[in-house]
Amino acid sequence: MTMIQSNDKLLDFSQSEKVIESVNLHLKNEEEISVTVNSLWFCNQRWARNRAFETNDIRKVRVTVGAMRNGGGGVFISFNQIDSDSIRDACNLIRYEMDRNYSANFSRGMDMKFDMPTWDSKGISVWEDKTYNRKATENSDFVRSITEQAESQGLLSAGSMDCLGANFVGFTRDPWGIEDLERGQTTQAECSMTVRHPKGTGSGWCGASSFDLGRIRLDELGKIALEKCLMSIDPVRIEPGRYQTILEPQATAAFADLFVTLFQSRTLAERHGSPVYLGYDSEISRGRSKLGLNVADRRLSITHDPENPISGSHIYKGVEKVEFLKDGVLTSLAAGYAEYSLAKLSSTQQTLRRWSYEMRSSEVTSTDDMISNTKRGLLLTRVSGVEVIHEESVLYTGVTRDGLWLIENGKITKAVRNFRWTESPMFMFNNVQAVGESVPVMTSRHQGFPFVHGELQLASITQIVPTIQINDFSFTSTVDAI
């Protein structure tokens, strides 16, 4: 059996299929089997105080074999050695456990198959060669250039740069001898960094993620973080209160996430307690949601478009574009297949798409224009430590971080000490002054093997959100931390 070669980052599909072939041969007498071969390459570089402290270039393989009898109970084992002896031992172990636990003589006599149709996930490919071809040494060079820039300015830099490639081949053989093989592959890249003043008087951040490393402008990330740090040194303390605030896309994303969550369960939206619940309709003895009603500023729309190449989520065939919010009106709610099927809205799996979205505006204003039109307001980089205060009114709290500036008479005048904010996205997105162009922001990647049961996990999330200017954003107290 082929071992994973030193120059291969991943098992290729033919290697995985040879493993499956071998397992299938060893377990030919078992009634029903499933085999999944997951292969992962993970390359990352972490640095802090301008020194790299962790560099990984990891390749992993995990083979999971399951055998079932009588349409029910079974044994699953996982292993990571794919030489012929290891596969034979693993299969022997399965046979031993099966014989010990399940009688081969007992049969439910299931002589027919019930074909429950599935969504077609075959050939999942969210892949970009540029990400996969990234070398650990290139990451090191990149980090060195970032840290040198920070060091030359007397600042400290910390961050991480991750690239991931993974594929899987899944195989099932059911009691009727019908074999099914499916494949999937993905790449993911992510980079984020913080630059801080050694005395802790200033901090700047920048980050990005995508399945395509080419879409992350690495050189700019370092410069932005550095620039923000320099601009935020020695912040002044101003009174908390309601300010006209410009939220950069990363900050907008935090609130947009909380907002979009409200549309992600039609069942919940039709129950008391949901902010998009309208009321009980005694005519039909059911609750009604705010579908068809205005829930946000008329300029805002939220969509998921699997065909958008930026999103990288075009993984399920037949998944169509959906519009959750159109010109501020709630037009769709994510739901399970049955609900959509019965409502005759679509024939696709709506729930699969819910985490990726794009928020856009019908009128676009540049950030410079927003600043120049502001008499007195704030410019915010991002927020952290978001916690719920009251779920029904979607009231949250958190703190600003990595750059907050005061705008006076159309110009950024000084850095400001961080604030604790207390705000509701329902209020925010109905108090919009101006909206900028939408760009992808950084989202957290899935750790470990991204394919679970043949489905691509959170790795495919993409949020595309704009810079947004909000009237009367509520800052409730100052925060000493920088």
Binding site: S34, G66, M68, G71, G72, G74, F76, L93, R108, G109, M110, D111, M112, K113, F114, D115, M116, P117, T118, W119, T172, D174, W176, I178, D180, I284, S285, R286, R288, S289, L291, G292, T331, S332, G336, Y337, A338, E339, S341, L342, A343, K344, L345, S347, Q349, T351, H453, G454
Partner: protein, 518 residues
């Protein structure tokens, strides 16, 4: 297996590192103190209690290394390293018991403050840990005596009920604390329950039913001391003293009725028939007045109107029978839906089947087919697949055991099955038949009604189902109630069925089958 074999020596080695580490390292949170804390320095019984709780918690939460530094000296700990407490429980506890005894010796339980149940609970627990059972009993009796006196003195019925509830709570406390602290002493517990019953005996039946539920649940524990005769006596008293209204008097009426029904095991046939009749009237009253009317409205049922009634004729557009199925070849089945087709509309007067006992079962029930899960693959096996298969097994076993009972699966169209798109009623019915009768091999008559529906206007677009004829005639507000089971006798009278298995159903079946014709 290899991994698990390696794990045990690894744990032992780990412990050894901790135990033989230096003095300074032993200050770590995870290392053991080298001497037993001075319990004698504890100021009050509360501190002893807290120590007792720590012992309990450490043994409950850390089963593999449950040596708690408060309780065991280093030499004892060394002896027990790597030994699972389940096998060495007594050995591990002795130092703890000794120190607790030492701690408690300073305090006289007779003068302890047990003004509330909470305070009593704390003291009882710590005394039990110290094996001072005689003190526990004395304190519990003191508490119960005061409750009984207060109940007797009181003229206010609600206050009396409150005292009785507290009395029951003390009994429950004794039960739980005994089970936590030491092996269950059945005789002691049975005694507590007998005492409890004695005070409830002359009061409201609600509490007697509560007690009956508890007794029934712990019956297996008390077989030695609480004989079948005594349970029968209790059952007869309950049956005689509970009227229809009393059986339906609380939100948990259906549970109470189920428990009462289970008492048929202890009755003669006539007693059981009488009890079943009363319970059925009670069930009809309760179901109609508290469930049905909320959905469909209508007049409130009186006792006369709630008399047992005959099953009305079952209707259904699609009818399938397991007996009439022709096995298909795998190749045909792979091609699609053509394998199961309806025998047509259910012939008039066919169900109820004359002179046959019948069980009507809601078919979506426990075994949903409308979830977006795949039937093949790991996910399904962990969710609906297992449920469906085990549910089908249950139905098949039931049929094997009670061949006289005709099983009728009742379902209705909902517009979709699994991940199939919107289906026509006939497509959906065929698919369900293929699943229930073909794949799961359920030995049933499957009747599927065509549900009338309408769609709300856009953008809501929801499908709203209109109650079907069977839903209305069977007094079931939707057919998807998972536990809907209706048993009819040979004459077609509906009987409420608590559950489909167990000793009581065998007895119930015998009684109903041998029931003389009216």
């Amino acid at each position: 297996m290899i991994m698990s074999n390696l794990r045990i020596p690894a744990i032992v080695a780990c412990f050894a590192c901790i135990l033989y580490s230096s003095e300074s390292e032993s200050q770590s949170l995870f290392t053991l103190s080298k001497k037993v804390p001075d319990y004698a320095s504890y100021r009050d019984i509360e501190e002893c209690h807290r120590a007792g709780i720590r012992i309990q918690n450490s043994q409950e939460r850390h089963p593999s290394d449950s040596i708690f530094r408060d309780t065991i000296d280093i030499e004892t700990a060394k002896k027990h390293v790597g030994v699972h407490p389940a096998t060495e429980f007594v050995g591990l506890r002795k130092p703890a018991v000794d120190t607790l005894r030492l701690c408690l010796s300073k305090f006289n339980p007779d003068t302890a403050d047990i003004a509330t149940l909470e305070k009593l609970g704390r003291i009882v627990r710590v005394l039990l840990l110290a094996h001072r059972d005689e003190d526990v009993e004395r304190m519990a009796n003191r508490f119960l005596d005061s409750l009984r006196r207060e109940a007797e003195r009181s003229n206010n019925s609600s206050e009396r009920k409150q005292k009785m509830r507290e009395y029951k709570d003390v009994m429950w406390l004794m039960f739980t604390e005994h089970t936590k602290a030491k092996p269950i002493r059945k005789d002691k517990l049975a005694e507590y329950y007998k005492k409890t019953y004695s005070i409830f005996e002359e009061d409201s039946s609600y509490y007697r039913i509560d007690l009956a539920i508890t007794l029934q649940n712990v019956y297996d524990l008390f077989k030695d001391t609480l004989t079948r005769d005594s349970l029968r006596t209790l059952a007869i008293r309950l049956n005689d003293s509970t009227s229809v209204e009393e059986r339906t008097g609380s939100p948990n009426s259906h549970i109470r009725l189920g428990v009462l029904a289970s008492f048929v095991t202890h009755f003669t046939q006539q007693e059981a028939l009488d009890s079943i009749a009363v319970s059925n009237v009670a069930y009809n009253l309760w179901y109609h007045n508290t469930v049905q009317r909320r959905v469909f409205g209508g007049e409130e049922y009186t006792r006369e109107k709630a008399q047992p009634k005959k099953l009305s004729e079952i209707s259904g557009e699609f009818y399938y029978s397991a007996d009439k199925m022709i096995p298909d070849s795998v190749n045909t089945i792979r091609k699609g839906f053509a394998s199961f087709t309806s025998h047509g509309r259910l012939p008039s007067n066919q169900i109820p089947i004359k002179n046959r006992m019948m069980m009507i079962i809601a078919m979506p029930g426990l075994c949903h087919t409308d979830t977006p899960e795949r039937v093949t693959g790991e996910k399904t096996r962990a969710t609906n697949g297992i449920n469906c298969i085990s549910y089908a097994n249950k139905i098949r076993n039931f049929k094997l055991k009670f061949p006289d009972i005709e099983l009728v699966g009742l379902s209705a169209t909902y517009g979709t099955v699994g991940l199939l798109g919107p289906l026509s009623p006939s497509q959906e019915a065929d698919t369900l038949a293929k699943y229930f009768l073909g794949y799961l091999k359920m030995p049933i008559h499957l009747i599927i009604e065509n549900t009338e529906y309408f769609h709300l206007s856009k953008p809501d677009s929801r499908r709203i189902d209109i109650p079907t004829a069977n839903t209305l005639s069977l007094d079931t507000w939707v057919l998807s109630i998972p536990d809907l089971k209706i048993l009819t006798d040979k004459e077609g009278y509906i009987l409420k069925v608590h559950k489909m298995d167990g000793e009581w159903f065998d007895r119930f079946y015998d009684i109903v089958r041998n029931r003389p014709n009216t």
